[in-house]
């Protein structure tokens, strides 16, 4: 970082800090170009959530309102990520290393000349919905409600095609791909943000994406190239991709071993600490759990008694399709099957609607999705309480006062 960069970063920082302290003042969005209505959870990491009022307006979530989540401060060596503009660099390269006959390297320029696929996926933070676990016991971290997700269109080259193109020839001992990006900790001793996912699954799903919603990927969303693993939680979709290492074991990074994990069995608050996580008692936030969200009506909508079209979205890990979505207006005593009116393929949002007759007064609406394998949502989402509050997928609930 040269002196000018340093000055710019310090000024930016100073501005952030000042805004961050203003009593009850709306905070400046830490990424220029993001909608000022975004909920800023951490200015220094640029962690931002989309308010549900905005999220539900679009079938494909525009870049201006898509949530952001980073793991290091967006200054110094990481200041490259603090913009909604793309990073235009065809010489940016991704190394493929590890248990292979021939390590290789592919540039963004080369990727752009290869066959590409387009996939619409739900990009969702594994902490999305963490705030709802507080009904049982609050868990540390960003208190996301609904807006730690979006429906995003990616375009890129299949990982399997990249491996063929480079003739890396993976060893039969390869069990994981371990991906790393350009972001790095500011503290010398800090672990790098790296994640491992099962090789057999990644090879079938993953793409090296170079476009998001029809444009080069904005820097803050991981451009110029991002590892997109459809159906996997956002954290596994490594941004600013620089290396894919084919490995026999998962990375020792704390981000894989002590965080971004859930226990394999139900635990009570205080019973198991993240420090005690091992590969035997926990697993990483890999495939997404089946989930549905009511988009309309919400608590802040004015609803008149009579016929009401309840609508929302549902999704899962894309392994099998979403089969049914049910809604209830009587606390789950009876369920009405909603109609799935539109989908964007196995990995995107399924849009659903149901016509309900609502009477004046208090009502609680519920929604519940089920996929072809019968994987659904727990009636009480806190039954999946876990020490770090990941993977919330409880039946969605809206309390309304119908007028």
């Amino acid at each position: 970082m040269d002196r000018r960069d340093f000055l710019k970063a310090s000024l930016f920082y100073a501005a952030l800090f000042t805004f961050g302290r203003g009593p009850a003042r709306a905070e400046a969005v830490p990424i220029p170009g993001k909608d000022p209505r975004m909920i800023v959870h951490s200015p220094r990491f640029a962690v931002m959530e989309t308010p549900l009022e905005l999220l539900r307006k679009y079938e494909i979530t525009p870049k201006e309102i898509l949530f952001t989540r980073n793991h290091f401060p967006i200054v110094g060596p990481n200041s490259f990520m603090a913009t909604l503009s793309p990073i235009i660099d065809d010489s940016w390269s991704v190394r493929v290393t590890g248990l292979v006959e021939r390590p290789g390297k592919i540039t963004v320029g080369e990727l752009k000349k290869m066959d590409m696929v387009e996939i619409t996926c739900v990009l969702q933070c594994s902490g999305n919905g963490r705030a709802f676990y507080a009904k049982k016991a609050k868990t540390p971290g960003t208190q996301w409600k609904y807006g730690g997700m979006g429906n995003v269109r990616w375009k890129g080259v299949r990982l399997s095609d990249v491996l063929d193109y480079l003739s890396v020839k993976p060893s039969r001992f390869v069990r994981f791909i371990t991906a790393d990006g350009k972001d790095r900790p500011l503290i010398r001793r800090g672990p790098d943000f790296v994640h491992s996912v099962p090789f057999h699954d990644a090879v079938r799903r993953a793409i090296l994406a170079v476009e998001m919603n029809g444009e080069p990927i904005p820097a803050v969303h991981g451009g110029p190239v991002r590892l997109v693993i459809p159906g996997y939680y956002g954290t596994m979709n490594i941004k600013w991709l620089t290396e894919i290492c084919l490995t026999h074991v998962e990375t020792p990074s704390k981000f894989q071993q002590k965080a971004y994990r859930v226990p394999l069995f139900p635990v009570k608050p205080g019973e198991l600490s993240p420090r005690q996580f091992t590969p035997k008692n926990s697993r990483p936030n890999w495939r997404m759990r089946t989930k549905s969200v009511i988009f309309f009506p919400r608590e802040f909508d004015r609803v008149k008694s009579g016929n009401v079209k309840v609508r929302g979205v549902a999704f899962n890990d894309g392994t099998v399709p979403i089969r049914e979505v049910y809604v209830s207006a009587d606390r789950g005593n009876s369920w009405l099957r909603a109609k799935i009116v539109k989908d964007y393929g196995p990995y995107g949002w399924y849009f659903w609607e149901a016509d309900l007759r609502l009477r004046k007064g208090k009502v609680e609406l519920l929604s519940r999705a089920i996929d072809d394998w019968g994987r659904g949502q727990p009636l009480d989402g806190t039954s999946r309480w876990n020490p770090k509050g990941y993977e919330w997928n409880g039946v969605d609930r809206v309390e309304l006062e119908v007028v």
């Binding site: 951490s42 401060p73 609050k138 900790p185 205080g270 020490p387």
Partner: protein, 95 residues
């Protein structure tokens, strides 16, 4: 009534992005802003002492450097001033 006002005051101080006054505040401000802002801490307000211990332990994994004595003072502060509501200020709920 006095307690309610105090709680309200604590609550509003915390939501404005400042840490409540108390023993250990300076240490927390010094040690916990090297990598992120205080907002990260305030957002987790309400977790138990054991969980604050785990958080500080996790931060050591990310590179936080503290002596045993400092760690205790930090955890004492966090669980007293950013702990569960009932442990923080009697049994009444600020909302």
């Amino acid at each position: 009534m006095g307690a309610a006002v105090l709680i309200l005051f604590l609550f509003s101080a915390v939501s404005a992005g400042e840490l409540p006054q108390g023993k250990g505040k300076c240490l927390v401000e010094r040690k916990c802003q090297a990598c992120h802002g205080l907002k990260n801490l305030i957002e987790s307000k309400g977790i138990s002492r054991k969980e604050w211990e785990d958080v500080v332990e996790e931060m050591k994994d990310y590179g936080l450097e503290v002596t045993e004595k400092e760690e205790k003072e930090i955890v004492d502060y966090l669980s007293k001033y950013l702990g569960p509501e009932k442990e923080r200020a009697g049994s009444s709920n600020p909302r």
